[in-house]
């Protein structure tokens, strides 16, 4: 497949993600980044890669720039992986605006992505984990319990490209 447009800057602000800073409490934790969303009462644990991408979302950097930042930190993630991370951060409401993925942001199949992720050091580099903070009553009775082992981010669903039929 061919990438039709790699110049995301021309595509508008939605392609230059900005990290949300208001209403969050942030604590670094041995490479990971703990983020508490005070309004939504959610706690997030960002992996080293997700944390690096999020910290560098300043509205000036494209996915390519962000993947270069990851390379500088010794994480060999490509643009596709950056888009996966951005998609996840957007879903967690950690970006100022929702990220609009370009059509050709993720071209690999899930299997191909897994292979590449394995090659750069494993899924744990890309993962984020989130819990809803319990109320005092939940913390007593067992109603909280939203902690589950983290799951790897899924590639976002993209609209299907039209298939040319022979004729």
């Amino acid at each position: 497949m061919i990438r039709r447009n790699n110049d995301y800057k021309k595509l508008g602000g939605a392609m230059l993600p900005v990290a949300r800073k208001e209403g969050l409490h942030i604590e670094p934790m041995a490479g990971e980044l703990m983020v508490y969303d005070i309004a939504r009462h959610k706690a997030h644990c960002l992996s080293p890669a997700a944390g690096c991408v999020w910290r560098n979302c300043n509205g000036q950097k494209t996915a390519k720039d962000l993947s270069d930042e990851l390379q500088k930190h010794g994480i060999g993630a490509n643009e596709e992986m950056v888009w996966m991370i951005l998609h996840r951060l957007s879903k967690l409401n950690l970006l100022e605006r929702k990220v609009t993925l370009p059509e050709n942001a993720i071209l690999s199949t899930r299997r191909e992505l897994m292979k590449r992720v394995g090659a750069v050091g494993g899924m744990f580099l890309l993962m984020t984990a989130t819990i809803a903070a319990p109320t005092p009553a939940q913390a007593r009775s067992g109603g909280g319990g939203s902690y589950k082992p983290p799951v790897p981010p899924r590639p976002p669903r993209l609209p299907r490209l039209p298939v040319k039929r022979g004729g």
């Binding site: 409490h25 604590e27 670094p28 934790m29 041995a30 490479g31 990971e32 980044l33 703990m34 508490y36 005070i38 009462h41 706690a43 644990c45 960002l46 992996s47 744990f124 984990a129 819990i131 903070a133 319990p134 109320t135 005092p136 009553a137 913390a139 007593r140 009775s141 067992g142 109603g143 909280g144 319990g145 939203s146 902690y147 082992p149 983290p150």
Partner: protein, 189 residues
């Protein structure tokens, strides 16, 4: 709080509510629903909600020579040290109800640093296969059991991150407490 003709039940409900109130309002320390014992001067903390088997695990570790800190709360101060929360062990009886076991000579007395976080829950025939998890995952597991997290998220997150920095954390389901107690102690060595 409770509507019951039995005084003991009413008092239990009152005690439970009072504990939650103190845990939620305390400004100096963070109360995490967890079992805690001390081993070789460091705390083993296993966060868990009611019914996760904290008390039986604490009792099994005490039989192996650990020092009792709590079967209810890990009380973590601003320096990240765990204080004893010396309440009698509430051992659930098979026929229902609780038996309270007072063993004041087993209670810890000094605040100590955390040495190991064990994220576990009882599962029938569960096999103990601990895998190391990152500090961030351990902090999330503690947050999930922190009483005042919504009331004072900044203080709670800072305190827990400080307490967990450099600490090993493992995660696994478990079977009978008596069988895994020695295995947990070996994780500290």
């Amino acid at each position: 709080l409770a509507r019951t003709p039995i005084l003991a039940e009413a008092l239990d409900a009152f005690e439970s509510d009072l504990q939650i109130h103190v845990a939620n309002r305390c400004k100096d320390s963070i109360f995490v629903h967890a079992g805690v014992v001390a081993w070789q001067g460091r705390a083993i903390v296993f966060p868990g909600l009611s019914g996760s088997g904290k008390t039986s695990l604490v009792a099994a570790l005490l039989e192996r020579g650990a020092t009792y800190y709590s079967d209810e709360y890990a009380v973590v101060d601003r320096y990240g040290r765990v204080h004893p929360y010396a309440r009698p062990l509430n051992i659930k009886l098979a026929k229902g109800g609780f038996r309270r076991k007072y063993q004041p000579e087993l209670f810890g007395k000094q605040p100590i640093p955390i040495g190991l976080v064990v994220i576990t829950r009882y599962q029938e025939n569960g096999r103990w296969q601990p895998r190391t998890v990152t500090g961030g995952r351990a902090v999330l597991a503690l947050i999930n059991n922190t009483v005042s997290i919504r009331r004072q998220p900044r203080a709670a997150l800072s305190t827990l991150c400080r307490a967990i920095a450099g600490v090993r954390a493992v995660e696994s389901v478990r079977g009978e407490a008596s069988q895994i107690a020695p295995l947990i102690l070996t994780e500290m060595e």
